[in-house]
């Protein structure tokens, strides 16, 4: 299993192929349905830098005492199909989620030379425990749907769509 640390270099991205399993560490941002709507509506005043950052399609559980984050598995990525190409064209470095994404998303990943990773849906406790730090950076009114910056250590992931447009699905 490959160990990767964010941000990913062009060479690293080029070396990743659909089906590879990886352990990812570094900083990522959570965003799901409502946050995406707001991000895309305000591309000129983004609440966090998109450039080369990774968005994790997730809405975590509240953190219990003594933990940085509660359960924090992925949500269904296909609901973000209409947002992902725009964000990739504006510099987004890639996404983590679960399940297949549309042809338009695959094309945008190839066009921008980025990757989409699949986390294992339903493994929220494992991903929650792999979060070392969690900070709300935008839209706190959205509660669990707010944007959180997570520092993650060894997230187990599968390369789901690579920069060549190959998919694991």
């Amino acid at each position: 299993m490959k160990r990767l640390t964010l941000p990913l270099s062009k060479e690293t991205i080029a070396s990743l192929h659909a089906g590879d399993s990886v352990l990812l560490s570094g900083e990522i941002y959570t965003a799901r349905d409502c946050a995406h709507k707001r991000i895309v509506a305000g591309l000129d005043c983004l609440p966090f830098p998109l450039e080369n950052e990774i968005i994790y399609y997730a809405g975590p559980c509240p953190a219990p005492e003594g933990k940085a984050c509660g359960s924090c598995g992925p949500t269904t990525s296909a609901r973000m199909n209409s947002f992902a190409p725009t964000l990739l064209d504006h510099g987004l470095g890639g996404m983590i989620g679960k399940g297949e994404m549309s042809e338009e998303v695959i094309k945008a990943l190839v066009r921008n030379q980025k990757v989409y990773f699949a986390a294992i849906g339903g493994a929220g406790a494992i991903y929650g425990n792999a979060v070392e730090q969690s900070t709300c950076v935008a839209y706190p009114d959205l509660l669990s749907e707010a944007v959180y910056r997570l520092r993650i250590k060894d997230f187990p992931l599968i390369v789901a769509i690579d920069s060549y447009g190959k998919t694991v699905y």
Partner: protein
């Protein structure tokens, strides 16, 4: 006549919500273990290994198994000899949900459908009550995640479509869902009734333990054929291609109108979390 204070129901909902959110049902754990042991696809096997490991972590650390702690679906069978006292039944159920989702650090996932403003305490629950003979109160708690709920479908077939129409509709719904509902899924199917009741039949089917068969042989044979056909789709765990797309299929039936054949497919992800208690 037996008197039951709704405080007891509130405490029971609280216990069941915490139990269900943190633990997979035993029949789900068995089915996942069997699926892992026979899986030949490497990515699908990795996914099944991860979810089994996750179930252990969640249990050990009393964490939610999945961050989607769901819409609280509460099923009650209330004996007609029971007299409920205290606060209203629905308020008692909602208070149980509210406290469990707060104390358990569960995600609050319920919002207004138009404004999308979160109710912040995971209420209201979806409450289904039936009055039955006797003096007991039976409660079942099913936290329903929406990655899978979104993939559920309702078909108003014609009588001519028959058994084949039922099979084709269910298989097409699961095929279309593909990797999105967190396979391997558990499929609840409602057959018959009306537009509204068939969906509830499908949801009630999910309360059955995985692997049990309907007592009617013709219904059981539909369950078996569906399971074989769904697994032959090759979707595999998480859609990574593999041998198990569904852990089980359960069908419930009810008489319908001479003009129709309603079929509802309720898709449940591999985190089957059902907790039950009898008061």
């Amino acid at each position: 006549m037996r008197t039951v204070d709704t405080k007891e129901i509130e405490a029971c909902v609280y216990r069941l919500a915490l139990e269900a959110g943190r633990n997979l049902s035993p029949s789900c754990l068995n089915a996942l273990t069997e699926a892992r042991d026979r899986e030949t696809g490497s990515a699908a096997r990795f996914a099944l290994d991860t979810v089994l490991q996750n179930a252990e972590v969640a249990k050990r650390e009393t964490m939610p198994v999945c961050q989607d702690t769901g819409m609280a679906c509460v099923f009650l069978s209330i004996g007609q000899e029971v007299h409920l006292t205290g606060k209203s039944l629905s308020e008692a159920i909602h208070e149980g949900v509210r406290r469990a989702y707060s104390d358990g650090c569960f995600r609050k996932s319920i919002c207004d459908p138009l404004t999308r403003v979160n109710t912040a305490d995971n209420t209201p629950a979806a409450i289904h009550t039936q009055i039955v003979p006797g003096d007991k109160v039976e409660l079942s708690f099913l936290p329903k995640g929406f990655g899978s709920e979104n993939m559920s479908r309702l078909f108003m077939l014609t009588p001519a479509a028959g058994r084949k129409g039922i099979i084709d509709s269910v298989v097409s719904a699961v095929k279309e869902a593909g990797s999105k509902p967190c396979p391997p899924v558990y499929i609840g199917v409602g057959i018959g009734g009306s537009f509204d009741t068939v969906a509830l039949l499908a949801k009630r089917a999910l309360l059955r333990e995985i692997g049990t068969r309907h007592p009617r042989k013709d219904v059981a044979s539909i369950e078996e054929e569906l399971l074989t056909k769904i697994n032959a789709l090759g979707i595999g765990a998480q859609g990574f291609h593999g041998d198990t797309a569904a852990l089980g299929v359960s069908c419930e039936i009810a008489p319908t109108h001479i003009a129709g054949l309603p079929v509802a497919v309720n898709v449940q992800c591999h985190c089957v979390r059902v907790a039950k208690e009898v008061l």
